[in-house]
């Protein structure tokens, strides 16, 4: 039930935040992609916040979606489903930490 509800909540968050993300990165500022051009954009606090929301909601939504697919075919028993859930939470947290670490140089980027 909670997983179902969070899947919907993250879905709505992703639609809104991803729309902003794609409009800014691909429609308004389409151009040469480099460490400097991306850094200038991400250096704005609002974009950093947006990226962290996207990262968190995206990882949850992606891995819970994957979990639902896997539970339909291979992880059908309660025991296996629980093991899968634990493994995916560990993978998700690892990706979140890695993703924030990956964003770090852009967050500290000095414009100009």
């Amino acid at each position: 039930m909670w997983a179902w509800l969070f899947q919907r909540i993250t879905a709505v968050l992703l639609i809104v935040c991803l729309a902003i993300h794609l409009i800014f990165t691909h429609i308004l500022s389409i151009g040469d992609l480099s460490y400097d051009t991306v850094g200038e954009r991400v250096a704005h606090g609002a974009f950093t916040a947006l990226d962290i929301i996207l990262l968190t909601a995206g990882i949850y939504h992606a891995l819970n979606g994957l979990r639902m697919v896997l539970m339909d075919y291979w992880f059908t028993s309660r025991k296996r489903a629980l093991a899968l859930t634990i493994v995916l939470w560990a993978v998700g947290i690892a990706f979140l930490v890695y993703g924030i670490w990956g964003l770090w140089p852009y967050i500290g980027y000095k414009v100009g």
Partner: protein, 143 residues
């Protein structure tokens, strides 16, 4: 609508047959593609941590200008738009909105997919042709 009539309503309306079944299958396939893409995206962006002055990141970005990468980008846009708009339809069905008109809602969502795709493709191809986005200069937000 209470829970019980809602359950029977979506069976009676054929939510899981024909259009609804294909919508569900494509939703899963696009979802799995997006899971894979998210992992790749996080790893690619994290290359900013490696190489002096972002040199690794710049090399990856140059590599992604390959025509195959551009074709995959276009496929990605289709997967994102389909998954997002069909997701809106799924949420509407969950809320019990328009179950009896689910096919109309599905095709309306697909119309939004096509409109968004055309806008995206127009921006992408004019950038590829002119080296500048159609609206980036006018809006003063050129990267």
């Amino acid at each position: 609508m209470s829970a019980k009539p809602r359950e029977t309503a979506n069976v009676g309306a054929g939510l899981w047959k024909a259009t609804g079944m294909w919508a569900w299958l494509l939703f899963r396939i696009s979802g799995l593609i997006l899971v894979f893409y998210l992992g790749a995206h996080i790893i690619i962006i994290s290359t900013g941590q490696f190489g002096a002055g972002g040199s690794t990141f710049n090399n990856v970005m140059d590599f992604l200008e390959h025509p195959v990468a551009i074709v995959l980008d276009i496929a990605l846009v289709v997967a994102v738009l389909y998954h997002a708009l069909n997701g809106v339809r799924v949420i509407l069905m969950d809320l019990g909105v328009g179950i009896k008109r689910h096919k109309v809602i599905f095709w309306s969502a697909m119309a939004v997919v096509v409109i968004c795709f055309v806008i995206f493709a127009y921006v992408a191809f004019s950038y590829l042709a002119n080296d500048v986005g159609p609206w980036s200069q006018a809006l003063g937000v050129a990267s």
